[in-house]
Symmetry: C2
Subunit: 452 residues, 2 copies
């Protein structure tokens, strides 16, 4: 017998995400009777989402109920699953930070302030869950997944699972190298979130890496010369990705490609060299506005649909499931409809060489028993010492800074940026960032341990 569940979505105002969830729920029969609570601080968005959700359900005749609230703690009441997609500070804030660092000589960001607001929200939600719905699962979708999930798993007793789209990059690789039946592919790409590496890549029972090598040999140069990105994040087969593959012997997957070394990211020209035309990857002054504009266009379209009661939502949204895994994972946990998913959960031995209490991104079998990681063994030593372990230390520093409120750790971070040219520059940029109105709470939290 299948079980209906109660799901709460924190930060439900992200129209695309919430409607995707509604679709997947309406199209998952075993979750019939389930209840979704949308939570956001924007009443306007909540009403829009609820309007669209109710109508979509109605058109399909599905049995899912909805409510909405701007009270975060109320949203946790009786929940079986919490999906946290919230971004405390929006794109405008990120842009203001970039503009301010630019004044200090940084290209596109450059000073990592450590996600204070996101970490604080995540920990607040997790602590509330401990109190209100201690047996619920938290599915964390908002970034930073790696830092945030590790923090929540360490500081609270709740069950945490982070999800990210990055691993879909495997299918992009497959498409490019001519794999026609991705359903006959098997792969593993373990690591840390945004730092995952294709250790296994099998097609029809055969190693598919030679197909990648053939593509590089025969077609890569032409692709790099002629390809125009079809979306801002279209970098999976970029020169930068192949360069990392040549350095490490394993292909980097998804957001891993965007990371790499600082030297891929010094300026627009360099970005284009590694990540192609026309934007140089997603993290440039050209790409970001387009990405944000597209999000806004989608919100505008949703708003239009919400205001047009005659519009057919099934026509617009379709009635096939999304590629998101949230609902399938919920169905696995609630109804034992077992599946294998790429998850971010505390390591406990799944990925060799990473401490047990660090959240790793690995495949897991999900069923009624829970989320059971597949012990994938280790990554090559070179990837460990140049990519995984330095990233782990970044995370540890980020969490220690967050917990201690030690401003000199933010300074150290600013100084460690490869764009920082002097102590005074790093210090000035940091102090200016902390003087932003939007960073007042952060400035209160972070104090120097002594006069420097």
């Amino acid at each position: 017998m299948s079980r209906a569940v109660r799901i709460s979505v924190i930060g439900a105002g992200s129209a695309q995400f919430s409607l995707g969830l509604v679709k997947d729920l309406c199209l998952t029969e075993s979750l019939a009777g389930s209840h979704v609570c949308f939570m956001d601080i924007s009443q306007e968005r909540l009403e829009m989402i609820r309007n669209l959700a109710v109508r979509y359900r109605g058109e399909l005749g599905a049995n899912i109920s909805f409510e909405s609230t701007s009270d975060r703690r109320a949203a946790l009441q009786d929940a079986d699953f919490i999906i946290n997609t919230a971004y405390v500070k929006g794109h405008r804030y990120a842009r203001a930070v970039r503009e301010l660092t630019a004044k200090h000589g940084y290209y596109y960001g450059g000073v990592n302030l450590g996600d204070f607001y996101q970490l604080k929200l995540m920990l607040d939600v997790a602590r509330d869950m401990e109190e209100i719905c201690p047996d619920a699962w938290l599915i964390q979708s908002g970034n930073p997944v790696f830092d945030g999930c590790t923090l929540m798993a360490r500081e609270t007793g709740i069950k945490v699972c982070g999800l990210c789209h990055g691993h879909y990059g495997c299918y992009e690789i497959a498409r490019m190298i001519g794999i026609e039946h991705p359903e006959r592919m098997a792969w593993q790409a373990p690591g840390l979130n945004h730092n995952i590496w294709l250790t296994h890549f099998i097609y029809d029972g055969e190693d598919a890496y030679p197909l990648i090598d053939q593509w590089i040999e025969a077609r890569a140069e032409e692709y790099w010369r002629t390809h125009v990105a079809t979306h801002t994040h279209d970098v999976q087969m970029s020169r930068g990705a192949v360069h990392q593959y040549r350095m490490y012997g394993l292909f980097p997957v998804g957001d891993t490609v965007r990371r790499g070394g600082w030297w891929y990211h010094t300026d627009l020209e360099t970005k284009k060299r590694w990540f192609g035309e026309p934007w140089g990857g997603p993290d440039t002054e050209l790409a970001r506005p387009i990405y944000v504009e597209n999000l806004e266009k989608r919100i505008a379209e949703m708003t239009r649909l919400a205001n047009d009661p005659k519009a057919s939502l099934v026509e617009v949204l379709g009635k096939s499931k999304t590629r998101e895994h949230q609902v399938a994972i919920i169905d696995g946990l609630a109804n034992d409809h077992e599946g294998q998913f790429q998850v971010n959960v505390p390591n406990r031995g799944a990925l060799a060489g990473v401490p047990d209490d660090v959240v790793v991104e690995v495949p897991a079998v999900v069923n009624k028993k829970g989320i059971q990681t597949i012990h994938v063994g280790g990554l090559p030593p070179k990837i460990m010492v140049e990519q995984i372990l330095p990233d782990w230390l970044d995370m540890e520093r980020s969490l220690l800074a967050f917990k201690t409120g030690d401003r000199s750790m933010l300074l150290w971070n600013a100084l460690e940026s490869h764009q920082t040219r002097s102590y005074d520059q790093g210090m000035a940029a940091l102090e200016d960032l902390l003087a932003m109105d939007d960073n007042r709470e952060m400035a209160d939290h972070f104090k120097f341990p002594s006069r420097l």
Copy 2:
């Protein structure tokens, strides 16, 4: 009953070191009858050392015998202790490397090639020891102590102990803050070699840190304004040292001060700001030639003495023991004359949070039973995540690069330099360095895993 021992000194041509050893041996009665084998590739130096050693012994009427050889394996025969002080490539090589990187836009070095020649020599010696004198102790004095001792301890079964002068910085601190009886001081400064932190500092049973704080409060500014370094390495109480203390809450000791972040080292002016006049610390284009010149002057003086059979060596060299610990440690191991020393040995739990097979610098009790580390507990989390663990990863990368001969790891190193401004600059500097005549063996060893 005391036991005579056989000691071999690899790289004995360093006159100051070898004569210090001779002095300490001649002045340690319990080691009477011991035998020293000087090994070096320079016959001329060997003869000079032997001449001076024999005469000094004669003047004191001590019972120590000497031989010399340029055959490294022969030197290991029947040895109880090997002291490795060798530098494969001299100061001229280091200078040529600096001049070449300067052409690529680097200030004073900037590209870390990873000590290939030193590591190779150390491992060769350790492997020969395994075969020829497997029960002997290796006392490693040449750098890199941290990387080299970890490598030898991991790759061979010999007993390794690294020594360094850095911890004497504690006495420099004591002197500056007005401690009149350093013999009544107790302190601990554990960590990794060149990365040690004053966790305990007791004078007459009281915490002496307040004396440091008082010095900083009352006298530091004047000291920084007026002090002129008395020797190139006179940086223990520099502004840079105090800045690190303010960042971390523990005082950095000895060479730790020279390390710190890249931002202390960007150019001469910056170096002077942090490490004072007139040289900006030991690692500048002003200080290094003076340091090297002083070494050469000492060699010249030794040569003069060697050529003047009438000179009284006791008059010149004195007859009190040096501050070196080699002979005292040997006496402890051979004759159970127990002492406590700052050593570099595999961790095995002595310093919390560092893997067991990594060589740490900690105090140890040395007696006939062996070198027994004192389990000092841990360093503060901030020092761990910003100083100790990143340094540990640097070492792991250095050893992995050495073992695999992967040139892209050298490239990564070059790129990770905070002085590198672009991928092409790092690559060009690396390739030019590997094209040096003096680096031919290294260039043969390091190959790219694939075309980049």
